[in-house]
């Protein structure tokens, strides 16, 4: 079942067409939303939430028509890109308030606020004013307020923006955990494609208001043919010449990693590579069937 389906949707800001005749079915699970700046990612999210009214077309979120935004927002959690909080509130009061705004009774909202804050890893800091929070804590509290009312679909706009490596890893683990086996689908929008790669199963690529590509990430990453990647300790020109002679043309080299055209099965290719390396007394430190990174796939899709 699709968590959201849009049919020939057009959204405009004045004369600027942000989404142009846009048709898509977003599937359950964790879906990444990719696209350059201004491609319409945030517009898509805001349309799903009913912030923007489409000028043409129709759509539904979790089986609810776009016009019934109140019901949609009941079922959807939204983590905006911008830093946001309610001024003058402590972390836990803020999250409980967000729960109350979603219709939870006061006591339930407070109980649930503590639960999701625990879950998002905000410890004692929850009793402090949100304005004193660091970037990482602000991202966590934004996630907490988005999931407090138990949504079925979570819309995350740049959840790892401004986080340091440790914070990024933790945030991605949180997103991955809530989106797998908890009955919660997630739509993540990010410029950091490795983040999408780590959390999502599927990706949508948007370009200039149009859907450019949609598919499972592992399919997007596939490369034509059967190239393999070989990692040596140090770059070696001799190896390069000899491996070509062995019938494996070099596609490209990055530092000491060679991407080679493979003649057949990986095992056969490995034997050729090892034989060549052995002649030169080099050791092969890595060998695997080549995949492109999501970033390469993305850059290819939009060009």
């Amino acid at each position: 079942m699709a968590v959201a389906s849009l049919h020939q949707l057009t959204v405009k800001y004045g004369d600027f067409v942000a989404l142009d005749d846009f048709t898509v079915d977003i599937s359950e699970g964790c879906v990444g939303l990719l696209g350059p700046n201004g491609a319409g990612k945030t517009t898509l999210i805001k349309t799903l939430l009913g912030f923007l009214t489409p000028t043409a077309g129709s759509g539904s979120v979790l089986g609810t028509d776009l016009s019934d935004w109140r019901r949609i927002r009941q079922l959807v959690g939204y983590m905006p890109e911008q830093d946001c909080h309610i001024p003058g509130m402590s972390g836990v009061a803020f999250v409980a308030y967000a729960g109350e705004l979603a219709g939870m009774p006061k006591e339930q909202a407070l109980r649930r606020a503590h639960e999701v804050l625990e879950y998002c890893g905000l410890g004692e800091a929850r009793y402090r004013n949100v304005e004193t929070y660091s970037t990482g804590m602000r991202q966590r509290i934004k996630l907490a307020q988005a999931i407090v009312h138990g949504p079925k679909l979570l819309l995350l706009d740049e959840p790892t923006n401004g986080l340091d490596p440790a914070g990024r890893v933790e945030m991605l683990e949180l997103v991955r955990e809530v989106s797998h086996g908890k009955g919660l689908s997630v739509l993540v929008c990010s410029h950091l494609l490795p983040d999408i790669e780590k959390t999502c199963d599927e990706a949508l690529v948007i370009l200039r208001g149009k859907l450019r590509e949609q598919g499972l990430i592992k399919n997007l990453k596939k490369v034509d043919g059967h190239p393999v990647e070989v990692e040596l300790g140090e770059p070696s020109p001799e190896f390069e010449t000899m491996i070509v002679q062995a019938g494996m043309p070099v596609i490209h080299r990055k530092l000491a990693t060679y991407r080679l055209e493979s003649p057949g099965s990986p095992q056969e290719a490995l034997h050729r590579v090892l034989a060549t390396a052995a002649k030169l007394d080099l050791s092969v430190r890595g060998f695997h069937v080549a995949e492109r990174s999501l970033e390469e796939a993305f850059l290819e899709a939009i060009n």
Binding site: A166, Q267, L270, H271, L274, R285, V289
Partner: protein, 304 residues
């Protein structure tokens, strides 16, 4: 190019950087660290905006603090993103050129040159308010290039850029480094750093945790044995052979014919593995090291 000797900086009682000694040479060097690790402080010391509390900072052999001679050779792209929003990018750069002491004609010529370098010549006539993050970043870089500096420092230049903008900026930085300039880039997005350089400067809570080439740093971390993952059609047979190798710390059977190993002295291990595969015709589909990357190195070092 840049030398720090026992440099420390404290803001009142708050730690900035603590006793850092290092040298930064030409090429791209990445400055890594968590938020608050002291990256920006280090940049400000090098650009002469701050004076170290103790220790020495030398840029091109001179003390950078309030030293115009140094300023001429150092270009700086700060992290903050504030402009005169209503002016155009060209006006902004030209204005800074005039402030740098160029004559009107020189400023005009040089402005066009740097805008050309950063690829903004055609777009610099629009007000800055309408620019995307990538364009703003380029304008910042353009103004840093005005005096044709030998050293360029960029504080979080890739923050918030989309993949296209990021790729273009990385290429631009590589080009600048290729001309023999010293480029110091701070970032906390590790995979971006990996695309730029292998030369690191890792700060943690104000201290210098590691410096040098990523590969060298990785091989020096003894506490965490080298991880190797092997995909094979016959895991049992392969495991039997591998356990004979010296320096195997652990071996674990994964699903779908995956063997996860931890080894010490990876050089010897790989040699043995290569030989075994060839000689015994083992059915191996691939092998690689999942922790031979910056992310793993970073977490190993920081969690220590």
């Amino acid at each position: 190019m840049i030398t720090l000797t026992g440099a420390s900086k404290w803001y009142g009682q708050v730690i900035g950087i603590n006793d850092i000694t290092c040298e930064i040479g030409p090429g791209i060097t990445a400055l890594l660290g968590m938020n608050g690790a002291g990256k920006s402080t280090l940049m400000k010391l090098v650009t002469g905006q701050l004076r170290p509390t103790t220790g020495d900072v030398k840029v091109l052999g001179m003390d950078p603090f309030a030293n115009p001679e140094v300023y001429k050779e150092v270009g700086y792209c700060p992290e903050i993103d504030r402009f005169y929003e209503r002016r155009t990018g060209r006006q902004f750069v030209n204005f800074l050129a005039r402030i740098s002491g160029m004559s009107a004609a020189d400023a005009k010529r040089r402005t066009e040159e740097v805008l050309e370098i950063v690829g903004m010549s055609d777009r610099a006539s629009k007000p800055i308010a309408s620019y995307s993050k990538g364009m703003r970043q380029r304008i910042k870089l353009a103004q840093a290039m005005l005096l044709d500096p030998k050293i360029i420092l960029l504080d979080e230049p890739l923050n918030g850029l989309d993949p296209v903008g990021r790729r273009e900026l990385i290429d631009l930085l590589a080009w600048l480094a290729g001309q023999g300039r010293t480029v110091l880039v701070s970032s906390h997005i590790l995979y971006e750093v990996e695309q730029m350089t292998r030369s690191l400067l890792l700060l943690h809570r104000g201290r210098l945790l590691a410096t040098g080439d990523l590969k060298v740093i990785r091989s020096l971390i003894d506490k965490y044995p080298h991880k190797v993952r092997i995909e094979t059609d016959d895991a049992k047979r392969l495991a039997g052979i591998i356990t004979e190798f010296p320096n195997i710390v652990s071996l674990r059977f994964g699903i779908d014919g995956v063997l996860d190993l931890e080894v010490r002295e990876p050089d010897i291990f790989y040699r043995n593995l290569n030989k075994a595969i060839l000689d015994k015709n083992l059915p191996v589909n691939g092998f690689q090291s999942p922790d031979n990357n910056l992310e793993a190195v970073f977490s190993y070092l920081v969690e220590r």
